[in-house]
């Protein structure tokens, strides 16, 4: 099998330039952390920021190209470019947020940043994979880094519990995914995504259909776990609550983006022939994910748990677009994810800034009267909450608008109706945060420490993103449409 005789040219390296840049910076930080003195550890974080920026810059070589490398193992095309850009932005925002937070919580050692960068490499690999094995490889690189990151506050039992839970269930999910890959390989005789779609269109593969469908179902389980679809979502609230908040933000956005990148790639590029068989399953998953996520979120009193359930619900909205499966649907998956990155990282950053060492203030009731003490932070939080709830003129509204449009266009009227009713239900728990922030008298001053300027910068970027995508969405949607053109 030519899997083991991979030939590559120097030009192939440009295809994975961001991955290489990130790996290089991660190794550099690893090296620095050995020599650097404890009081100078901030430099590790700064180096990571530079690394994230460099990765973003190195995407330059990917603009407008469509080529594969390393014997068709990875490819750069508009779709992977879009996702890699999104992942680089996520990495940058996460690192920015971490500068102050990691220091405050005493986890600012080198490994923290190294693992964030490695996880990013894994996510990017998933986004650019052209072969099922690379998807698996990327998934594992990402997952293992995040298992450790989730438990990096090792004196905190909740953090350790989160890591352990995530690891155990994640290992199961990986096994499902691997099994799915094996069955798909058995049915089609190839691991190459492009080759797979060729096989499925060319020869009469109908004999292998049951095997292929079971394989695809197992893939859905594997991906479904990573992007927290109901009923594979059980780990989400505990892990999101226990993990360090900066890592929660990273997981909620990065893992989801990478998971959807691979999901979209596999199902729309390699297995479009299975579409008719999977529609019903997707429909049910979408409805279950939206509804369960929103309904359980209603009763949460901890903001991290609430955002965890809300992230489940948002995965459900994205699945609506996935089910629609038309051009608009796939484009709106990308649009939605980007909008979600800004509003979700923004919200988690506000959560971080409202806590202090040893007192995280993650109960929603802790936020009583924040609007009086920290008006600007409160306005930012209000913008993120309105965006998550899908109220114009924010990115969240436009994202939902596109997603439901895609569903209506594909004649999934009921799916759209269930979706919008869900977002009406969801408005309640997002507004409840604002009820505490603005309507309740402050019970006590939170006495939070100074704001880290980098985190403030992350909030400013997020607010800009949310408002820009909400008021002038054209350019972003055009980019998303451009990115998926070649799929169709």
């Amino acid at each position: 099998m030519d899997l083991f005789h991979v030939q590559f040219a120097a030009a192939d390296l440009l295809v994975i330039a961001p991955e290489m840049v990130l790996t290089g910076f991660a190794l550099l930080i690893l090296l620095m952390s050995v020599f650097i003195r404890t009081e100078q550890r901030s430099f590790l974080g700064y180096t990571a920021v530079v690394g994230a920026l460099a990765a973003l810059a190195s995407l330059y070589w990917g603009i407008g190209t469509e080529t594969s490398a390393f014997g068709n193992m990875v490819r750069i095309d508009p779709l992977s470019f879009f996702f890699k850009m999104m992942i680089a932005i996520i990495c940058l925002l996460t690192v920015l947020v971490s500068l102050g937070y990691a220091k405050r919580e005493g986890i600012d050692f080198g490994e923290y940043y190294v693992l964030v960068l490695f996880a990013t490499v894994g996510m990017m690999l998933m986004a650019s994979a052209a072969n099922l094995l690379i998807i698996f490889l990327g998934l594992e690189v990402m997952s293992i880094s995040i298992y450790i990151l989730a438990g990096i506050m090792r004196d905190d039992t909740r953090s350790v519990e989160a890591a352990f839970k995530y690891f155990l269930l994640g290992a199961f999910a990986s096994a499902f995914l691997l099994y799915g890959i094996a069955l798909v390989y058995a049915a089609t005789g190839t691991l190459d995504l492009a080759g797979m779609s060729r096989v499925l269109t060319e020869k009469s593969w109908i004999s292998g259909l049951p095997l292929l469908i079971i394989g695809a179902a197992l893939l859905i389980v594997g991906f479904g776990f990573k992007i927290a679809l109901v009923p594979f979502h059980m780990w989400t609230p505990d892990v999101y609550e226990g993990a360090p908040t900066s890592i929660t933000a990273f997981m909620a956005t990065g893992v989801k983006a990478a998971g959807f990148a691979a999901f979209v790639r596999v199902f729309f590029s390699a297995l479009p022939a299975l579409q008719p068989y999977l529609k019903e399953i997707m429909w049910i998953l979408a409805v279950a994910t939206m509804t369960v996520g929103n309904i359980i979120a209603l009763s949460q009193s901890n903001i991290k748990r609430m955002l965890a359930y809300s992230s489940i619900a948002h995965a459900g909205y994205i699945l609506v677009a996935f089910t629609a499966g038309n051009e608009l649907g796939i484009a709106s998956i990308l649009f939605y994810l980007l909008a979600y990155v800004f509003m979700n990282i923004g919200a988690f950053t506000v959560v971080i800034l409202l806590g202090k060492k040893g007192k995280e203030n993650t109960l929603i009731s802790d936020y009583a009267g924040i609007g009086y003490h920290h008006p600007l932070l409160a306005i930012a939080m209000a913008i993120f909450m309105f965006s998550l709830a899908g109220i114009p003129p924010t990115a969240g509204f436009m994202a939902k608008f596109y997603v439901f449009s895609a569903a209506v266009k594909a004649n999934y009227y009921w799916l759209a109706i269930i979706g919008v009713l869900n977002s009406a239900v969801a408005a309640y728990y997002y507004l409840r945060v604002l009820v505490y922030i603005y309507f309740r008298e402050p019970e006590r001053n939170l006495a939070i420490g100074g704001f880290s300027p980098a985190a403030v910068l992350a909030i400013i970027i997020s607010v800009w993103g949310v408002l820009n995508m909400g008021i002038l969405p054209s350019a972003f949607l055009a980019l998303a449409r451009q990115s998926i053109k070649f799929l169709l």
Binding site: Y372, F386, I391, P392, P393, F397, F401, F404, S405, V408, K409, Y413, A416, I417, V420, L421, S423, A424, A427, Y428, L431, R432, L434, V435, Y438, F439, R440, P473, S474, L477, A478, R481
Partner: protein
């Protein structure tokens, strides 16, 4: 079109927002300055909205002052705005009432003054935006944007149960409007498939000519959103809570404008987009409106709280608006539009008056008052005038509106007319009874003897309203001449399209619908378009 080389409608829409941003830059501590600047902004806004009225050509039935810029071009979404005679009057009502609201908040709002004023100005932009939008997405965005400041106004500056009321207000409206969003999207695709032109342009979508079955569903989605906002019975339960808990100015703007957005939604969106469904819905809407009229009046009569009484009277008054609109004749619709303005003026004034007495006495219970006319004669005089306007005494604005509505309803369906007329009698009963208990009789509570009469600021707030009440009652022509053609055109357009849709299957109709086509007065202008 613009007359002075200036996109005047955009300026009118966004000037309050610009003002809000300006307020943001003022130091928080200087409350007096903030109040003054906010007042000046609202006055200037009222000032720049007046040219709309002056320059508006009453001889044109189409949209005027139109502006159109692509917004989300590949989706056919555009920033498209314009007004006809109906929206013109409502825009003016908005700018007029906002000034009074800011004046009335002078003492009532004692904390977070800056945020309060900012919320109010953003709300003004949102409301005007809804009234001028000619693009469905633009409309939906403004529609939802109005929710946020109102939610905050109720929730931050409201009374005891403000949180409950604010959430209820938001969620009710949101639940109604999300279904409308699905209908908007569906309309977009259905029209696109049929005509090949994918657009959210309202005037083009009027011509969509959907199949009747589809129209029913879509009309239902739109009507639900608007019926919650109006609010029509049985969707009215959020209204008393919101009104009672909102600060005075919030109640004024809620009753004065926000509810009108619901009725306006029917006249601008739900009916002309789906004329067949609208005509078929006449019995349902009319009966719900009648229930609203009578039920609202009866419940008002039983209230012990002044503000709640006024709130339920709104349910009754808005019932009249809906009844007249669905009579589908010139008298009914013109009366309906006029009644929207009347209700804004007189119910707004009632809330202001209740607020003024509440500021002095910190109670709104009718039983706590009595004999106020002796202690506060100026207050009692104003209250009397507004009460008479509210019960539609001839010579006041209320009479013109209700008379036309009932005239139109009698023409369309005498039974509805008779039932509707009982609402007028009931209104007189609950208002006058309330007036008597508050104003006359012996002073039963010692505290009431020390109440101060209205101060200059309060009198200045109320005088414009009294002027409007009399002016609109005595010279209705002044306002009607701006909207006559718009209303006639609306009816002509809706009926023609209804008949066109109904002709192919032959005479299925039993003759219950008033389907006689009345051509508008000036034929040449019946085509929708820009009137120079």
């Amino acid at each position: 079109m613009n007359l002075v080389g200036l996109p005047i409608l955009t300026v009118v829409t966004f000037f309050p927002l610009a003002g809000a941003i300006m307020l943001l830059l003022l130091p928080r501590a200087k409350e007096e300055l903030i109040k003054r600047v906010a007042l000046i902004i609202s006055l200037v806004e009222f000032g720049i909205s007046l040219p709309l009225f002056i320059w508006f050509d009453g001889g044109g039935a189409g949209m005027q002052f139109t502006e159109r810029v692509p917004w989300i071009a590949d989706w056919g979404v555009s920033y498209s705005i314009g007004i006809d005679g109906i929206s013109l009057l409502l825009v003016l009502l908005t700018t007029f009432l906002t000034v009074l609201c800011i004046l009335s908040s002078w003492r009532a709002v004692d904390r977070l003054v800056k945020e309060y004023m900012i919320a109010f100005l953003i709300l003004e932009t949102g409301m005007i935006g809804v009234l001028v939008s000619l693009d469905l997405i633009l409309f939906y965005v403004f529609w939802e944007v109005t929710l946020i400041p109102m939610y905050l106004i109720i929730g931050v500056w409201g009374g005891q149960r403000r949180i409950y009321a604010a959430l209820k207000f938001f969620l009710y409206t949101m639940a109604g409007s999300v279904l409308m969003l699905v209908a908007i999207i569906a309309l977009y695709f259905l029209n696109g498939k049929a005509t090949g032109e994918y657009t959210f342009d309202l005037l083009k979508l009027y011509q969509a000519g959907l199949p009747v079955q589809t129209q029913y569903l879509m009309f239902a989605a739109f009507a639900l959103a608007f019926a919650i906002k109006v609010p029509m019975f049985p969707f009215h339960t959020w209204l008393p809570d919101a009104h009672v808990e909102a600060p005075t100015a919030g109640s004024v703007i809620l009753a004065g404008i926000l509810l009108k957005l619901g009725t306006y939604g029917f006249i601008r969106f739900a009916i002309p987009l789906f004329p067949v469904a609208a005509f078929k819905a006449v019995p349902i809407i009319s009966i719900l409106a009648l229930i609203g009229i009578i039920y609202g009046a009866l419940v008002s009569m039983m209230q012990v709280d002044l503000k709640k009484l006024v709130a339920f009277s709104s349910v009754s008054h808005l019932g009249f608006v809906m009844l007249g609109m669905f009579a589908f004749n010139v008298q009914g619709v013109e009366g309906s539009v006029y009644q929207m303005l009347n209700h804004g003026v007189s119910t707004g004034a009632l809330f202001l008056l209740v607020g003024m007495v509440y500021e002095r006495r910190h109670t709104r219970l009718i039983a706590d008052f009595g004999g106020l006319s002796r202690v506060m004669p100026i207050f009692a005089t104003f209250f009397m005038i507004v009460t008479l306007s509210s019960i539609a005494l001839p010579g006041t604005n209320g009479f013109v509106g209700e008379f036309l509505i009932l005239l139109g309803t009698f023409k369309a369906n005498p039974v509805y007319g008779i039932l509707g007329a009982t609402g007028v009698i009931l209104a007189a009963a609950y208002m006058l009874w309330m007036f008597q208990r508050v104003m006359f009789g012996a002073i039963t509570h010692e505290e009431n003897r020390r109440l101060k009469d209205l101060n200059t600021r309060e009198i200045v707030t109320l005088i414009p309203i009294v002027v409007m009440i009399v002016w609109m009652g005595v010279f209705p022509k002044f306002f009607f001449k701006k909207m006559d053609l718009s209303v006639q055109h609306f009816l002509y357009d809706v009926k023609t399209r209804y008949e066109a849709a109904m002709t192919p299957p032959g005479a299925v109709q039993g003759g219950t619908s008033p389907a006689t086509v009345e051509a508008p007065g000036s034929k040449p202008d019946t085509k929708i378009g820009v009137k120079e």
